[in-house]
Structures are given as C-alpha cells and as structure tokens.
C-alpha cells in the first residue's frame, strides 16, 4: 500500500498578542511531526492556517489532515470541510486531553480520530490506520445510502411519468415505457430527466 499523504496544519500567531497557548501548541506540533516521520508517514506539507490554506489543500489533495484540537486554525479548516463536503477526507485532531481520546466519542462527534499528545511513535500508526479504515467505511455507507435514495426517487418519477402517458395517450404500460425511452434517446437525456420534464409539463398545463 502506498504511504498516506498527510498534511499537518499549524496555528498562526496573532499579531501583537503574546499567547502562551501558542508556544505550547507549536511544541506539540513539532513532536507530532517527528513522531509521524519516525513512524514512516509521508508529511507532504506542514501548513500555516492562513487564508491560503483552502487553496493549498485543494492543490495537495492529502489523504488525511491533522490539526491541533485547540488550534485557532480549526475554523479555517472547517471552511475546507464544508466546501469539499462531497469529497471528504479524514481530519485527525491532536489533543493534550486523554479524556477525549475515545474513538467512539470522537466518531460520534464527526471527528475521525484523536491522537493524544505524548503518544509513543509506535502507537501513532495503529490509531491512524483505524481512523482511516473507519472513515472509509463511513464514507462508503454514506455513498450507498444516497445512491439508494437517488435510485428510489428516480423510480418514483419514472412510474409517475408512465402513468401520465398511459392516461393522456391511452397507452399500455409497455408502450408508455417505449415512448419514454425513445424521447430520452432523441433528446440525449437520461430516462429520469425526460420523465421529470413530462411531469413538469403536466403540472404546468394542469
């Protein structure tokens, strides 16, 4: 398996503010990056959470993004999450707090995983592997669900359009279906699109 391409997002210092939390975060981040490298991970970039973060992530297309849970970078990253919500990627939070390290609680909160600071290098890998596996599984079920929903909706539209044709043109079900197929081929449209147009037209004309 190809090694994971990871992006680590770092906090940005606020101008004119001496924030002790910032120094702590920076140190934590450094330890984490060393740990990841030692565990054989490929950190493709270590990015500051500035205005260009969304563009950089779009360019790099990492498999996973890691950010400090207490970072002021979280909301900038949130923008990326919402903007790319149809192509989500796992976000792993790096935290000082052992209490939040329960995978189930994290998953329930929509986070892929938490890594607790001070985690030995050897233990980072299993955490990330499980996080990624669970994330992919979750994405797959989500995709299947929306696919099923879509198919169901399309079938309903098709049935309704057939019904309209049968009623208005005195066709058999088979003939109505053939007519829809012909229309779809002539107009180079999907069957469901033609069906929707027929319904829309019928709605308009009452």
């Amino acid at each position: 398996m190809q090694s994971l391409r990871i992006v680590v997002v770092n906090p940005v210092a606020i101008e004119g503010e001496d924030d002790p939390a910032f120094a702590v975060q920076a140190a934590r981040g450094k330890d984490l990056r060393i740990g990841l490298l030692e565990a054989g991970y490929n950190i493709v970039a270590s990015l500051p959470a500035d205005l260009y973060l969304p563009e950089r992530i779009a360019q790099l297309q990492p498999d996973m993004i890691i950010v400090d849970a207490e970072s002021n970078a979280r909301d900038v990253l949130e923008h990326v999450v919402v903007a790319t919500r149809d192509a989500r990627r796992p976000i792993v939070l790096f935290t000082e707090d052992a209490k939040t390290s329960s995978m189930d609680a994290a998953m329930a909160a929509g986070v892929s995983a938490y890594i607790v600071a001070g985690l030995q290098t050897a233990r980072i890998k299993p955490v990330l592997d499980v996080a990624l596996a669970r994330f992919r599984q979750e994405q797959k079920s989500l995709a299947e669900l929306s696919d099923t929903k879509l198919k169901l909706a399309e079938r309903k539209v098709l049935e309704r359009a057939k019904g309209l044709l049968m009623e208005h043109h005195k066709l058999s079900e088979q003939e109505a279906y053939q007519k829809l197929r012909r229309l779809a081929m002539d107009k180079n449209l999907k069957l469901s699109e033609v069906a929707q147009r027929i319904i829309d037209a019928a709605d308009l004309l009452g």
Partner: protein, 428 residues
C-alpha cells in the same frame, strides 16, 4: 468603581479560579449596585428549597469565544448570579467555533456561547457533524458589523451600493471573510452582498478567519472586507485599517446572534440545571442592559486577558451605541448590542431558528428543505426557557414566531419557510 484592583489581571488561568476574596470584592461592589437597582436581595442563598428542583449537575462548564457578546455568560459567573440559582459556572475560553462544537458534542462542555447558525448546522449535519442540539436562550441581538478595507474606501466603496459598483467597474477577485461556514456572520455577509446584487458564492471569494485575526489580515491586504462581532469591527476603525460599511442591526434590526447552546441530551437529562443556567444568564443580561454604568463595568471586566483580551476602550464605545464609521461620520445608534431588552433578546423564537435554516438552504448548505418548523421546535427549548423566565420575572412574548423586515424590505414572519427560502433571486 475601580474594577482594576479586583479583577485577576495576572491570572492566566482561563477556567477563572478567582479566589474567594476577589470574587467577594467584585460582588459586593458591583452586585450591590446592580441588586439594589433591580430590587434583588443580594443575600439570596440559592432559590432551590424543594429537593425536586435541585440542579442535577451543580457545576457547569460553559465555553465562550472572546467577543463582546460573551458578556452575559461571563458576568453571570463574575457577579455570582450562578450561585443564586444553586450552580457554579466554570468558564472555558475557546480558540475556535469548531472546537466549541466538538466539545459540546462529546460532553467536554455542558453549554456554550455559540453562533445560532452553527447549532442548526450541527442539527442538520452540514459538513459531517450531526447531533441533536438545544438552544436554551438567545444571548444577544445586534452588535456585529461589516467592515471594508481602507483601500476600497479610497476607491469609493464605503457601503453596499458603492461596493457593488466598484466590483463591476474594477474587475478582480474580491475576498470577504466571515467566522464560520454555517454561522451568523456568513449569513449577514451573504444577505448584504446579495441585497446589493452581488452573489457571494459566484462573484466573490469568501473565506473563514478567526475573529481576532480579521484586523491583522485586513492590514496586510489579505482581504477586502469582513463580517465579525464586536469589538473587532470597532478595532478596525481605531487601527485605521477599515471602515464600517453597515452594522448588522441595519441588515436586520434586533436580529438573533449568539445563543446559549447545548446538546439535546444535556437539556433532557439536566432540566433543572438548564433552568438555573438560563435564569442566571437572564439576570446578567438584565444587569448589563440596566445602565451605562453597568455597561462600563462590564467592558472593564471582559476586556481582561482571561476573556476578550483587548483594551476596555475598544469595547466600551459600541456597547453604548456610540458609533463611528472611520470616515468621519459618528452617530448614536439606539439598536446597539442588547443582552436583555425586557426578555425580547432571550426568547428562543422558532422563526429565528428557522431563518438560519432557510439561509442554509438558500446558499446550498442544505440540499433539500428540512421540516423547518419541526426542527426548530426540537431545538428551541421554549418550555425550559419559560420556566426560567418565570423564576426571574422576565416577560415572555405571546407568540413563538416574530415578524421582521430586513434591509431589502422583505418580511420574514416564519409562516412559510420553504417558500421564503426559495424566494430569493440570488442564491447558490
């Protein structure tokens, strides 16, 4: 009164471990003033006589983001209103809205000062996080603003109309910042741009930036405009980097803004704690709104490093309605940030909640129409709120919906959310 000597100036501990002596000082000094004015007895020893009313959880951890509108939550703790209702508010200063959301969801925080829109974003699972949420009360109306850079102002763009004109004549990529994708500032910014004929998603680049970083980013030319809560709008004026193009109260007078949020599970398991918490914050809001002197003390208190971490002068102008736009215009705004306003601020109107969902729908954050009313009913904890309002003699409006006219003359009364969401010419 000199709050300087009683506030923890050197206290880096944001969990607010104010020692008893300081707390007492602050209380006797400020509460006495507030209490006598409100006809309260400042020697109240907890309102919970009956065992069944006892708060299930007596210590509540409440998150806040360093903004002026965290004031009622902070003052409820500083002035001891929490104690009066048998709970202890433990304040936790947070670095990001995303962090607030995750900590509410996983129980690290019991409640939080949070963007109304964010609560509905989590409720609907926008961006991944889906959890049943609760709004216990509104925290404030008004008091946010949209700022345009000095560079734009020099080119004549000082309000919505002149900005739209400049964007048409001087074509390039224009960048505007808000604070959270589903939050209030994103919705004010989008509404204002669209009301001026600019499609925020197609004609501009919108980014998310934490409030304390707005001014610095504008100074170095990273953005053309931003929408954020005070004190940052005023700070941009003071620093000479931007001009106030519009205040949010001009977009929607008395608009909903921050709420006291929790998970639905927390509200269901701890109804007495929630009532006590709402009551304490109601009293704090009433205290802030009661006089200019109290507002002054509030500004002094929340300017501290443990809270907003700025100078008192940056906070204390706009909370009194003293506005300046950075171009020499000054005015007294009667619709400044309100924390109580006889309870009108705090009632969790269903129409307010639904409005955010209609805008999420309008801008494509929601792909389909939710059952607006049912969702708002499940989120707004109106029954709990009414109990707390009764405990504090806070007037409660008759109707769970209210009618508002926004800047473009369009009326929102909460009656047909689906049609309203679909009625905008400019949308995603």
């Amino acid at each position: 009164m000199d709050v300087e000597n009683v506030l923890p100036q050197d206290d880096l501990d944001t969990s607010l471990a104010v020692d008893g002596k300081r707390r007492q000082l602050l209380q006797t000094a400020t509460l006495a003033a507030g209490a006598s004015m409100l006809g309260l007895s400042s020697t109240a020893t907890g309102a919970w006589a009956a065992g069944s009313d006892k708060p299930e959880k007596t210590e509540v951890k409440i998150g806040f983001i360093p903004l002026t509108d965290c004031a009622s939550v902070v003052m409820a703790s500083l002035l001891g209103f929490d104690k009066k209702y048998g709970i202890k508010i433990v304040l936790s200063k947070e670095a990001s809205w995303a962090g607030v959301r995750d900590k509410l969801a996983n129980g690290e925080l019991d409640g939080a000062h949070v963007l109304s829109g964010l609560i509905y974003g989590v409720q609907m699972g926008i961006g991944g996080q889906k959890k049943d949420m609760a709004i216990l009360m509104g925290l404030n109306n008004n008091g946010q603003a949209i700022t345009l850079s000095k560079k734009l102002a020099d080119k004549g763009a000082v309000d919505g109309a002149s900005l739209a004109k400049l964007m048409t004549s001087d074509k390039r990529e224009y960048t505007f910042a808000q604070t959270f994708p589903t939050g209030t500032h994103a919705m004010w910014l989008y509404y204002w741009l669209a009301a001026n004929g600019v499609n925020p998603l197609k004609d501009a680049k919108v980014i998310t930036v934490p409030p304390p970083q707005m001014v610095a980013n504008m100074r170095v030319g990273n953005m053309d405009g931003f929408c954020v809560g005070e004190p940052w709008g005023h700070r941009a004026i003071v620093d000479g980097v931007g001009v106030t193009a519009i205040t949010t109260q001009e977009i929607w007078k008395d608009h909903p803004e921050k709420v006291l949020g929790a998970t639905a599970e927390f509200a269901a398991k701890n109804p007495n704690t929630c009532r006590a918490l709402i009551a304490a914050v109601l009293e704090a809001g009433r205290w802030i709104d009661a006089s200019l002197a109290n507002k002054n003390k509030m500004a002094e208190a929340i300017a501290d490093k443990s809270y907003v971490n700025t100078s008192k002068d940056v906070i204390d102008q706009r909370i009194m309605g003293r506005y300046q736009n950075g171009l020499g215009k000054t005015w007294d705004d009667p619709n400044y940030m309100k924390f109580y306003n006889d309870g009108l601020v705090n009632f969790p109107y269903l129409s307010d909640g639904m409005w955010f969902m209609t805008q999420h729908r309008r801008w494509g954050l929601l792909k389909t129409d939710p059952d607006y009313l049912a969702v708002a009913k499940s989120v707004s904890q109106i029954a709990l709120y009414k109990d707390a309002a009764a405990m504090t003699n806070t007037p409660v409006p008759k109707d769970v919906l209210r009618t508002s006219k926004l800047m473009d003359g369009v009326v929102w009364d909460g009656k047909n959310p689906q049609a309203y969401a679909a009625s905008f010419k400019i949308h995603a």
